[in-house]
């Protein structure tokens, strides 16, 4: 698809496992996740709350909470394994090579400093910019995300939610990183402002070669900003492929269910159908398929054997025992009765 530079992928995550120590035991929040990201590619990481999206993102840039640990797998970034990189080297990489727009990042701006000063801090202290060059770069960055450079003198509270979110994106772009991990960048914003921020991200995609991992629970955000998607469920990727594949020919019952749950202004549906039930306890996940308790198509084998990720079309991978019956699943999954076996959430 994109960026077939022949230089191999920018990022290759292989069987990543990241667990949390909790009072109740070890929570297997990310449990064998693999994907690759080419230069310039925008990957959407979607899934419901608690599925492990944020943990995956934070593991890559290694800003995990104290009770978390990368217990297995590799994070190959430009040939180096970040899972094993000493913290000292990792520090050089953050901002310069990989930058994160954290979840609820509007709160990540320091209220007592002007935005321009916060930008300078990154450019001068992290990037070794001269102050005057840093000032020029700040203006350029504000322009890039559609903010008026004159507003660099403002404090965060003088910005609206959407403007603050754009400022955080500008800051992530400051040192021209190869990879940006954006965790729910528009979730807290209202529809109009959300559209503006997404438009900003889209323009960046056209102008810069930066790769993006876009973490969101909203598949419409992915539809509008990404070229490929990985769908997470309970710590695992259950389906991944190009946006075109996943939206036009989804395979996994969870993905099929998500499609039913969304209202669509352009093509209104008579009934929306939700995926009732709970995700499993990650401290004691069930054997077999982790979606089985909520899956209307679960069979005996699903409870016993974990379905492997198999390639159903070029670059399109699915972890489900019933990929061969996809035509049937697609028809059945559109019927509300199909999903009614499970208790409401």
């Amino acid at each position: 698809m994109m960026a077939t530079t022949g230089r191999g992928p920018l990022l290759e995550v292989v069987d990543l496992k990241t667990y949390y120590r909790t009072r109740r035991g070890v929570a297997r929040a990310v449990d064998g996740v693999s994907f690759t990201l080419a230069q310039g590619q925008h990957l959407g990481l979607i899934g419901e709350s608690g599925s492990g999206k944020t943990t995956t993102g934070r593991a890559i840039i290694r800003v995990l909470p104290r009770n978390a640990e990368i217990v297995g797998g590799q994070i190959l970034f430009k040939g180096r394994d970040l899972a094993r990189l000493p913290e000292r080297d990792m520090r050089d990489l953050r901002w310069r090579e990989i930058a994160m727009v954290p979840q609820a990042s509007m709160g990540s701006l320091d209220p007592v400093y002007r935005l321009g000063d916060q930008m300078l801090e990154v450019l001068v202290n992290r990037g070794g910019y001269e102050r005057s060059a840093a000032r020029d770069r700040s203006k350029e960055l504000f322009g890039l995300v559609g903010l008026d450079a004159a507003r660099l003198d403002n404090y965060p509270h003088e910005f609206s939610g959407g403007m603050r979110q754009r400022a955080v994106i500008a800051m992530a772009l400051a040192l021209d990183p190869a990879l940006i991990i954006a965790d729910e960048p528009v979730t807290a914003l209202d529809v109009i402002v959300q559209a503006q921020v997404l438009e900003t991200l889209r323009k960046l995609q056209e102008r810069l070669s930066v790769s993006v991992i876009m973490i969101t629970h909203d598949i419409s955000v992915v539809a509008q900003t990404c070229d490929s998607v990985a769908v997470m469920y309970a710590g695992k990727i259950v389906e991944q492929g190009s946006v075109r594949h996943i939206f036009s020919a989804p395979y996994h019952p969870y993905t099929l269910g998500l499609e039913n749950a969304y209202p669509n202004l352009a093509k209104p549906k008579d009934t929306l159908i939700s995926i009732e039930g709970f995700p499993p306890d990650l401290v004691d996940p069930p054997e077999g398929c982790r979606f089985a308790a909520r899956c209307p198509f679960a069979m005996e084998v699903c409870l016993r054997e974990e379905p492997p990720l198999v390639e159903v079309a070029s670059g399109h991978f699915v972890a489900c025992h019933q990929t061969d019956k996809v035509d049937y699943l697609r028809i059945k999954s559109r019927e509300a009765e199909t999903w009614q076996r499970v208790a409401p959430v």
Binding site: V191, A223, Q224, A261, P344, V345
Partner: protein, 280 residues
């Protein structure tokens, strides 16, 4: 005959809102006080009028700060308007007090955005749902218990016994929102306001809550007011749509018409902003 027809017709109107206004005078900040200036008033709601018949559902869409919640709070007499009038089921809200106010509190109910804040964390689910019956001194203990059980069943929290003695922290956001709905419906209201009732919930389970609200509104012939940023949700839920912008309704009409043939520029912007499912 004619008189009778007319009165039937007006009895059909549950809510009539005329030129409703709410202006807030922000307290002067320190700097403004030094300069001696007055902070400008915020015209949160600035002349809103509409009528709702029994069984109708109205969606209010509009960006953050456009005055949706403030409007809803005035309709429920939770804040007093700066101007204008709300007539509910034949009575002006302005003069309501004593038993009439209490009757109004029974007939008009609100569903909050955040189910975690709406329920007392120390109460069991039974206690939360029975609370309105206790406040209004309705029924014997046995009757009250039966009504709670029925209400929980109606919102599909089954088996009901499984939920009665649980506390909110044992339930998911979606289940809590069902509890909130059960509590709102237990007094047999005629009017329900739902202010962003699913925006805190995971998309995969929103549909179940929306469908339950829809089902109950139809069964009880409720008049509903549904507030959301998201026109696609309003399209799914409401016969009528009002678009608010800066404290005013800039467009009002049957939902299908407003969405397929928007007249106001701001409505068009709002429609364009709704995220589309199709990949670009």
């Amino acid at each position: 005959m004619a008189a009778r027809g007319a009165s039937l017709n007006s009895a059909d109107i549950v809510l009539s809102v005329r030129d409703l206004k709410k202006h807030f005078q922000p307290r002067r900040g320190f700097m403004a006080a030094l300069r001696g200036g007055e902070a400008p008033v915020i015209k949160a709601v600035d002349g809103v009028s509409f009528e709702l018949k029994r069984g109708q559902s109205l969606g209010i869409a509009g960006e953050s700060g456009s005055g949706k919640t403030t409007t809803a709070r005035m309709l429920l007499k939770l804040v007093e308007p700066t101007g204008g009038e709300v007539v509910f089921d034949g009575d002006s809200l302005r003069d309501l007090d004593g038993p009439d106010l209490k009757a109004f509190r029974r007939k008009a109910q609100l569903m909050f955005q955040n189910p975690y804040e709406a329920l007392n964390p120390r109460f069991t689910i039974f206690r939360s749902v029975v609370e309105p019956l206790l406040i209004h001194a309705i029924g014997s203990p046995q009757e009250r218990r039966q009504r709670v059980v029925d209400a929980l069943r109606q919102v599909h929290l089954e088996p009901v016994e499984h939920y009665l003695d649980k506390h909110p922290h044992h339930l998911s956001g979606g289940q809590l929102q069902r509890v909130v709905l059960a509590r709102a419906l237990i007094l047999n209201p005629i009017f329900l306001v739902a202010d962003e009732p699913v925006s805190m919930l995971d998309v995969s389970i929103r549909a179940g809550i929306l469908n339950t609200i829809k089902e109950m509104s139809q069964r009880l012939k409720l008049t509903t007011l549904y507030i959301s940023h998201d026109l696609s949700l309003i399209q799914y839920m409401c016969d009528m749509t009002a678009v608010m912008y800066q404290g005013r309704i800039v467009e009002l009409g049957p939902t299908a018409q407003v969405i397929s043939d928007p007249q106001h520029e701001y409505t068009r912007a709002l429609i364009a902003a709704v995220p589309m499912l199709e990949p670009r």
